[in-house]
Each structure stands twice: as structure tokens, then as C-alpha cells.
Point group: D2
Chain length 307, copies 4
């Protein structure tokens, strides 16, 4: 297997990738950004890509949400959860917080540690880096001037950086969700605890357009575990929705919801059904069970056989 | 063809039956009541029965609604509308309204002419008859004592009765709807302006149980043209619904609604799809068209082929 | 107190009336029909009327449903349940079923005993009577020819009729619901287990018109205990709905539903809130409690105070 | 008036601020980030703050969405739309694209110009800046090494930078929406074309929880112009919704929707009603007009006066 991932080496995305079976023995190619990673999949340069889609503090990752929603079709085959914790690594010679005048990291990481920084290194100026790893590596570059970097434990360890403080994140227990993306192909078999991801362009801007869509789920007892609105880029007020539902397209109620959605927005995208990384099998009412759907269809078919 | 109908001869039901192609040359058997007429169908004694189901003034005909809802399955293959107008026929020797002391007719007919009677024959006592025809025929029976009868123009003409006043009904333009009932068999082909009739037992007594049912129609843009609640006989508050919808089971949106209903109440009855006696083809949104359903199913099937 | 009731004396309606506190000492005026009883109320001739509204076997009583829906406003202040059981009373000299050639009763009673009659007196011809009491009294009239009458135990006892068979009804456990109707006035205080009755004309004939109405109830967790469609008399397909809900207009969720309904059909009629004759206090979600409504209003008022 | 805004000077946020009446004569304080700008409002250091909330290409501005959703209450009193267009400014001595090896700008700006950059300066390395203005000013700083910066026309003009290319954005017609935020106080009067902003925590995670919320809008014909889900920070799958609706709390249908929402999520936040920067007065059905609500309330009050 050959994987692309949102690089550079040492990011949380690589941590996620390393959780996959056989990943340590696979070829792993860091990509400069989400779009680049997904392009490698689309063009067949790699078998799959691992990219972040959602963070429990920062929310949806726009680059991923937008990139999988347009262009050549892709498929999500797995999700991986990674607990997010940050360390404060420092340049050689720095031994206490009071010495830090400049700190660098990626903007997203900065947002998750800002309160800690305001309280503990109030005098330090923030310099954005293109990734947490890039900020960390800068500590070993004499041409760069920041004294400290906020980064993952993995990169600090790999590069032998001096860690002054561990767990500098403001929200303990933060988690980032990553997805494994391939070209469209065979859908993983249902495990009982599955997720399906959809892209739903909102055809009309009127009271009830979104509700019409949600009704397709509710009418079959299909629960939403994530919903994000994203601009289509065609002007303020034009959205598509990126949605995760509990369940697998192999299940009748999910298939029926998809069928209803296709009537309302024929341009919807099905991005895959795959095992959920956590959670229990959803409760399903008798009238939303596979049996209920199959019997209903058989009954209607019998009626229509009399035509 | 051999027909049963709600007799006796000369009722509006026979007028309805005579509107059917070839009915004048068919064998026509009057039945004592709706149940008897439908039993002849169920037992194969006749090919079809004609019975009233709804009157624009009096509402649903309970005997019919209940009789087709239970027992061996039946099928509605056609509906017939008959304008309802009554005449006041009188016994020989009666020449003016002031002479009338007793008037007879069926209770339903009496209900539709009561205001006229109160205004024009206020002194007359009402004697119920088992049918309008029976009341009318009684005028020729010396053993009976009523001076006048309210009946259909047909029976007055057929029996040579003297008609004192025409159009004694309170609501001009009243119409009764009759149905042609057979044993279950081939469903008439769709004409574009069709109706389907369903029996829907309400499984649960909770806020939203009825709404859950109606949603199955609304979600597919299927219009209801009639809805009646009827007691199941199992105690106050236990109902079934008798429903007519605009459309034919051959149409995808009607079939989809039926399928959804079957999940909610597996004991539902489909009583038939048949040409509507009046009205235009219903407006159907693009997303409820046959094409939308067929394309949606094909799309979902293509997705599931990847399983 | 002076009461009108659907007569004649000895009917189930009188049984219902006699259940009211103080009714035995009140003046009780039998009316020839439901309309006449309600007219006496409207014109101030009596304080209240007792009329049947629903039977657990036969369904809604059309005359009552229609008469309270139109004309001068009326108010329902109480409901009474009466178990319905019939006896077969016979003319003097009749001692066994085989002697009965003609049987009389009201059409509704006949409908409820037909199976018994078919099985036990198959040779007997049915003659409709204007009420069960009238049929029963006819047994003592030498000018009438029926041998038996189906009537209430009350009338048989009061008139000293010979009862050949008790409990001839087909559905054991049948119940009729009666209502006590006054001119509009003070609404009975809530007891915790109450009912409210509404008349809802359906303004539009489109998919979802009825659902729009039901949503007003469901959105506030208000349960329907009865719904009947009745023709408005303006042609097939034009209905109003007669509805009972669990709850009292003094409760916020019921008042809110009424307010929402008034927007959709400004011609609705509120026919009263009154103690339910049976049942338990309905379950009410926290967000539909009086407190939730009162706090929500206070919050919105506080926001709008900043205008 | 004293304003804070997302600085530094020369950003699109300052352009937005300068559109306000009297803004050119007001005191304008650049803030390092959105949170800092809103803190100045909360603490009374300024009268109002101007911050971005939504971009037609990049979507919602998370920092703003999150910061106004929590902490001391704030109020939105106006919105401002600013068309987003970027220029490529270059360091002295650079005269053609081929000379550019390093380009700097804010990550959001980079995202909006990436395709242009890939096509026109493929060899240039991207260096993130803390704002577009900071990147631009760096061109005049000999200690920094980037050759070009992507920035607003305003900052290029103010600082006398050499502009090599105008309109380097990938999406022509991109717009960013800014809001003017104050401490809670008097709500601007309705103009007929207004918006209201709400924060709605989703109390429950079940099929229909979001639908229950949307129903409160749909039931009153209140249109949503924006909906964003944001993580509450309490773990994956815990969201609040940030919502803009068309209409003003002074309008009955909006007030009624708010009241309904308060019952479902008592912790909701009302962030203000204010004139919409564009659009027409929304279509309002008769049954959702102020009159319909006022008449319905009066009718219910009259009924309840009889209690």
C-alpha cells in the first residue's frame, strides 16, 4: 500500500495513518496540503490518503470538506480518531518560560492553546507556521528567530527537541477525526456500527429546503452524527451540506433515505459507508428495520403484479 | 355480467349502476343492504356490486366503509357520481300539500329534505322507510297510511306515481358517489386521472400517529381526496381510516407511499386504483415524478452494486 | 335546571342525562331529533341539551357533529359514557323466537344487532322506527304489526314490556358517548384529565393541508382522541374536521395549538374544554409544560423590551 | 464612537468599518485577533467591534462564530458586505512573476488565490503571515525574505507598495460579511429587510433533534439565510448551531419562532436583529403575518377570558 497524508512527517495526521493495519510497512508520502494529498489519490499516484476532517474543538476542516465535495469522486473507507495534545518545544538554550519572546505553530494549533499562552507566555509574539511540524523544525534552523514551538509529542520526540511543557492545549480531551480516502470502489461490508458520508447541495433557498432534506433521514429513523454547511463559492447564502449518518448503505433505511434524497437533490454525492471509530449500534424502530422495508416492498410488488 | 346493487329497484344506486357500459343488458340483483350486496360478490354469486360510499351532504356511508374494510378482501374497480334530487310523490287523491299528514322515506333522504318539509308540510309526521323506493311503493299499498313519499325521480317514473313537487332537496347540487366492487383481480390501467382507496388501521394512539401516516403521502406529494375515521368496534378511541388518494398504484409516488405506509401499519388494505369520475390530473413536482423515483432507485442500486 | 334530550323517554340519551348530578330532579324535555334539542338550547328554552356524539361501533353521530358545527355557537360542558346493551322485547303472546315475523327498532340499533338477528330470527322482516323507544312502544299499539322490538333495558322496564332475550347486541362492550351542550359561557375549570372539542374547516385542498393542521397539535405534544371528517355540504371533497384533543384550554400547550390553528383556519370553532369521562392525565414533555411556555414568553418579552 | 476591528490597519475589516456612517472620524483600534476585538467590547474599552463572520468562498469564520456564542452576551447591530479582491504586491526590484521565489499572506487569503498562484508562480514557496497586511508590510522589511505578498488593494495603496497583478483571487465576486458588535442594548428598529442571529445548542443527539429546531422556523415561514454547526468543544458530535434568519424580532412570526425555540433549548442566545445588507423583504404568507398572530392571540385570549 502507498499512502499520501497531510504532512510534514510528525503531524497528527501521520499518527493517524500509523494506526492503520500494515501502515508502518507501507510507503507514506507527506503532502503539502489536503488538496495535494487527495490529488495523489485521484491521479492514481497513491492507493489512499489520510486527511483530517473534523476537530472536536476547532470544528470541520474546510479544506477537506471542500476538496472531497467537488472534483473527481472519492470514497471514504475508514475513519481514525486521534487524541490531540500539544507540547511546548524550545530552542536550545531556552530553559524557562520567561525567556520566550516569539512562538510559532500552525494557526489551528495556536487557536487550541491560546488561553494557555496568554496565561503563561503573555509577552510572546505568535508567528504562524505552515504546519506544527514546520514550526517545530524551525527551532533547529539558525535563520529563524522563534524561541518556542507548539507541536505534537510525536514530532518533538522524532526530532529530539527539548520539551519545556507538556499538555499545553486549552481543552483537555480534544480529538481529531481523520478519514482514509480512496478512489471509488468496493464499499466496506457493514459491521453493525457504521457511518455513511454524504454531500448534499441545497437546491433551493426557501423555508423548509433544509428541512425537506432532514425529513428524508428522520422519516427512516436515520440519525445524523455530523452536519456542516459549506459555501459553494457561488455567493453568500449558497451552501452545500456535508453530512455523516449512523448506518450503512447496505441497510434498507439508509438506502431508502438516499433514494429520497436523490429525488430532492439529484446532484448529491455518496462518499462511502465505513466502520465507525466509536459508538454503539443505533437503535432502530421495528418499522425502520430491514425486514419492514423488505416486507413493504414485497407487498407493494404483489399489488403491482395485478396491474 | 351479473351485478348486485343496494336495492330495491328504483334507488339512486340502480341509477348509478345503469351508467355502467352494458349495464342495461346485464343481470341486476337488488340487495337488502350493503352488506348483502358485498356478500354476493365475496361468495361469487355476482361479478360485481354497486354500493354508495359517500354523499356530499350526509358524508360517508358507514355500512359501506365498514363492510369493505373487514372480511374477505375486495377491490374497487370504478366510481360513479349521481346527482341527488328528490321528488315528493303522493297517494292517489292527494292534490295539494295541505292534505299531507304523514310522509315516508329513508332516514338519509329525510335528512336531506327536512328544511323543505318543515317549511312546506310542517304538519306532516315522518315515518321512516327501509329505502326511498320502499316508501314510494307504499303509496300504492292500501295497508300503509302515509300520504306522501320522498323518492328518486326514477322510481316515481317507473311506478307511475303522481309527483306533486320536484327538487324538494335542501341542498341543490348534492351528489352521491357509488363504487363498483369486485373480488380482488386485475387492477384497471391508469388513465392519468385516477384514485386509489386504502384502509389504514391506526396502530398507536399518540400525538403524531395520524401525522406519521399523512407524512407518507405528503412526502411524495400524494393528495388525499377523502379521509374518514371509523371506529374499529374495539372501544372508543380505536379508529381506522378510510382514505382516497389522487393517483394510481402504477405511479411510483403512490407505490412509494404505500410502501412507507406498510412499514407503519402492516395490516393496511389496498382496495384498488381506478379511474376518477371527475377532476384533472394532479400536479406532480419533478422530484415526485416517475422519472425521479426510477432514477433515484437506479442510482442507489448502482451504489449498492459496489457492496 | 331544564334539560332537552334526544327522546323519546327511555332512550340511552335519557340514561345518560340521568347520570348528571341533580338530573332526576330537573325538568327533562324529550326532543324529536338532535337538531331540535340543540335549537332549544340556542333559543334559551332550556339550560342544556344531552345528545349522542359518538358510538364505539357505529362511529360519529352525523346529526350532532353537523349541528354543533354550524349555526349559533354552542359549548360542550361535559361528556357522559353509557354502555350500550339491547334487549329483544316482544308483543304480548309471543313466547319464542320462531314466532317473530317482523321486528322494529331504530336503524342504528338495528345495525348493532344485525348479526344476532340474522342468526336467531332469520325470517323476521325489519321495519325501521324513528327511535328505539318508538319501536318498543309500538308493541303496545294494536295498529302496528311488528312482533318484536330491539330497545334499551330502561324503556322495556319503564313500560313493563316482556323481554324475551337480553344482550342481543353484536359487539359486547359497546359504548356511546353523550355530550352536555349549553350556550357559550363559563368554561369548566381544568381537572387534569380534560378534553377540548374543535371544529376545523379545511381551507385548502392540497397535500399537506390536513397535515398542517395536525402539526399544530403535534408541535405542542397535544394528543387527538377523536377526529372525524364531515362534508361541508358544498360538494364532494369539501370537508371540515371535528376533533377532540386531550387537554384543556387553560393549559398553555392547548392554548398555543389553538392560536396556531386560528392562523391557518380563522373560522375554526372552539366548542369547549370539559372533564374527560375516562382516561388518565396525558404525558407532557418538559418542553410542552406550562412552565416551558411561560418562561419562553417571558424570555421573548424581555428581548422585545429592548426594541 | 470608538471601534475595535480585526487589524492590522489596511485589512478588509478596516474597509468594512470605513463603510459605517461617521467611521472616518471615529477612533479605530486594530486588534490582534477576533477574540481581542470582542473582549474590548465586553470590557467597555470600545463602543463596538467590527469582525468578519462569513466569506462566500471560505465559509464561516470560526473564531467569530465561537467567540460570540460564549462568554458575556453581545449584540449584533449591523452587517457590512465587502467584495474581496486581492493584488500581488512585490518587493522593490521585482518586475516580473518569474523572479518570485517566496510569497507571503494570511492562510485564508492564500486559500482564495492558490489556483492563480499554482498557475502563475508555481515555483514560489508560501510563507504564512499573521494577516494579509502583515505579509504586505514585510515587503518593506529588509529582515524578511519574501518577494511578494497577496493583500488587499487598500493596504497596497496606503503603504505605497508596487502592485504587479490585480485580481489574483480564484473566485471572482467573492464577498466577506462583517458584523458590528456591541454590548446588549437597544435593538435597531425593523426596516422591512432585516436579519436576526441566534445561537442554538442542540440539546439532544437523536434523529429529529435538528429537525425539531428547524420546524420552529418552518412552522412560521421564517427563512434561514445561514446555518453553521460548530463544535461545543465537549467532544466529537456535540454541536451548537449559529443561525441567521430573515426577519426581525419585532415581527410576530420571528418572536413566535424564538418562543418555540426557547422551549426546546432554553439556553439559546438571541444575538440581535439588524438591517440586512442586501436582499428584499421576505414573502410572508397571510397566516404568518403580524395580523394573523395578533388576531389569533386575541381570539385565544377571548376564549380563555371565559375560564
Amino acid at each position: 500500500m502507498k499512502y499520501a497524508y497531510l504532512g510534514p512527517s510528525g503531524t497528527f495526521t501521520e499518527s493517524a495513518l500509523l494506526q492503520l493495519d500494515g501502515a508502518r510497512d507501507s510507503e507514506r508520502i507527506p503532502a503539502a496540503n489536503v488538496n495535494a494529498a487527495l490529488s495523489m489519490v485521484r491521479e492514481g499516484d497513491v492507493d489512499a490518503a489520510v486527511v483530517p476532517i473534523e476537530n472536536s474543538v476547532e470544528g470541520g476542516v474546510s479544506a477537506t470538506l471542500d476538496s472531497i465535495a467537488t472534483g473527481d469522486s472519492l470514497q471514504i473507507v475508514a475513519e481514525i480518531l486521534v487524541p490531540i495534545t500539544f507540547v511546548l518545544a524550545v530552542r536550545e538554550g531556552i530553559t524557562e518560560l520567561g525567556q520566550i519572546r516569539q512562538v510559532s505553530t500552525h494557526g489551528h494549533a495556536w487557536a487550541q492553546c491560546r488561553l494557555w499562552a496568554e496565561a503563561n507566555i503573555p509577552a510572546a509574539v505568535f508567528t504562524p507556521a505552515s504546519s506544527t511540524a514546520a514550526g517545530a523544525l524551525g527551532l533547529q534552523d539558525p535563520e529563524q528567530h522563534h524561541d518556542a514551538a507548539i507541536c505534537s509529542p510525536l514530532v518533538a520526540e522524532e526530532r529530539g527537541l527539548h520539551v519545556l511543557v507538556r499538555g499545553v492545549e486549552d481543552n483537555l480531551g480534544a480529538v481529531t477525526r481523520f478519514i482514509v480516502v480512496t478512489r471509488p470502489g468496493r464499499i466496506p461490508q457493514p459491521t453493525g456500527v457504521d457511518k455513511s458520508t454524504l454531500i448534499l447541495p441545497l437546491a433551493e433557498d426557501r423555508p423548509g429546503a433544509l428541512m425537506g432534506i432532514l425529513e428524508q433521514f428522520t422519516a427512516r429513523g436515520v440519525n445524523l452524527s455530523r452536519i456542516e454547511s459549506r459555501p459553494t463559492g457561488e455567493g453568500l447564502g449558497k451552501y452545500f451540506f456535508s453530512v455523516d449518518v449512523e448506518g450503512h448503505v447496505a441497510q434498507e433505511r439508509v438506502a431508502a433515505a438516499l433514494s429520497g434524497l436523490h429525488r430532492l437533490c439529484p446532484e448529491l454525492r455518496f462518499l462511502g459507508s465505513y466502520p465507525a471509530a466509536q459508538g454503539a449500534a443505533p437503535f432502530v424502530d421495528t418499522h425502520n428495520s430491514d425486514d419492514a422495508f423488505i416486507e413493504a416492498r414485497a407487498w407493494v410488488d404483489a399489488v403491482r403484479a395485478r396491474l
